[in-house]
Amino acid sequence: MKEKKVMSVAPSAAADTILEARGIAKSFGQLPVLKGIDLALGAGEVVSIIGPSGSGKSTFIRCMNMLERPDAGEIRFRGRRVGARFADNGAEIGQGTLRRHVGMVFQHFNLFPHRTVLQNVTEGPTVVLGQSQKEAEAVAMDYLAQVGLADKRDAWPAQLSGGQKQRVAIARALAMQPDALLLDEVTSALDPELVGEVLGVVRRLADQGMTMAIVTHEISFAAEVSDRVVFMEGGVIAAEGPPQEICREPKHERLKAFLARFNA
């Protein structure tokens, strides 16, 4: 056991840090995917994570709500360490508690096909938060209206377009009234003409002050909505800074090469 505990606290890790990753490492078999990532998400902050395919962005954001179990390092929610179990345990909070407060939206939507749009959104609040059906429906309708899909409340997921599905998925995450949202390539599975409607919803959330970590390939969108942009490559954070610095005037060589492909 080492005596000295190295605390790698990212610059913005203040008292109002919502979610923090410290020294996250993860391998799949022999392949190291994450080699020690530190990232803190302050209240109201929007952080975009960009980088080439296979750089570990998605694995990292999945570690942030423990859908992927890190081999090393820790996740902290509001300063409290998240344990390996579902339930809270003394000083550690459980994964269940973490996920109740930190929502996630997936690349492939993952709506529940056996539930209507409204039921998809009320599932979490009723089953996990214990809200009454009536209460949950009122809240759900609010969020469905926010994403412009109030009229689809009784539709089945299979009847929606990709963009509509993703907006329902966002409403489903919001209905839990989370402290932070994790967005994992939420437009990558969409037809190009449907990307705009989803980004519009995310942009509005950013304007409303929602704390978000966004893994994305939409560089100009990232530059526009983020307070901070993180460039990942080869399982490490290779560059990090305000969007202007990272996306418009990159100094890092690999980052330049990466961005050049988008501007071609």
Partner: protein
């Protein structure tokens, strides 16, 4: 030329009806017990616990790779010697049929559950649901729709397999055919009547399985 006469068969109709009742009771009893035990086996297989997984798999293979007829004989004639107690033929029949059904149902459940995309469980986890809630509210409802045709088909087979209990003197429908044959000396009519009874009950069920399968394919 053989001259058909179903008259003696009609005279024995209450024997057939009693046999049919026994067959139905054994079928439904073993389906219900098989469902419960099969679900338990399936969860053992999926538990991630090696010992439970191996034990359940061993049990399944034992029952899937030996003939039901042999299992019935073994439970009725061999197991009592091993345990030093008498096993009633009705108990042996019901137990064997149920365990046999469980081995096959467990495989249907397992396939159905594994066929549900991982993203579904993750979406449930992401809104804070526990493993049990995810299984009950997200995975099983979707999996059971997919399993339904296979489940009905296996149950049709179960209904027919019940006829084997006649070898340990359980008076089911097939057994009654022998009884009536013994009384009337009309094997052609006796066994034809029994075959028709089986067919009349099972044909609608196989149609139902096909219908559900077609509807599922449309809705997915």
């Amino acid at each position: 030329m053989y001259s058909w006469s179903f008259f003696p068969i009609f005279q024995a109709s209450d024997l057939f009806l009693w046999g049919l009742w026994v067959t139905v009771v054994y079928t439904f009893g073993s389906i219900v017990l098989g469902l419960v035990f099969g679900l338990a086996l399936c969860f053992c297989r999926l538990s991630g616990n090696r010992v439970l997984d191996w034990a359940a798999q061993g049990f399944q293979e034992l029952f899937r790779c030996t003939p039901l007829l042999v299992q019935l004989l073994w439970f009725y004639y061999a197991l009592p010697l091993l345990l030093g107690i008498n096993i009633d033929n009705h108990v042996a029949a019901m137990a064997t049929l149920s365990l046999y059904a469980a081995a096959f149902y467990a495989e249907i459940f397992r396939g159905g559950i594994l066929s549900i995309a991982k993203g579904q469980s993750e979406a449930g986890a992401a809104i804070g649901m526990s493993k049990a809630q995810i299984m009950r509210r997200i995975v099983l409802p979707q999996a059971s729709r997919r399993m339904l045709p296979a489940f009905i088909n296996q149950s049709v087979i179960q209904f027919k397999n019940t006829s084997l209990v006649s070898v340990i003197s359980v008076a089911d429908l097939a057994y009654m055919a022998s009884v009536v044959n013994g009384q009337t000396y009309r094997p052609l009519e006796s066994y034809t009547a029994v075959a028709v009874l089986y067919f009349v009950i099972l044909f609608p069920l196989t149609r139902l399985a096909d219908y559900i399968e077609r509807r599922l394919r449309v809705s997915e």
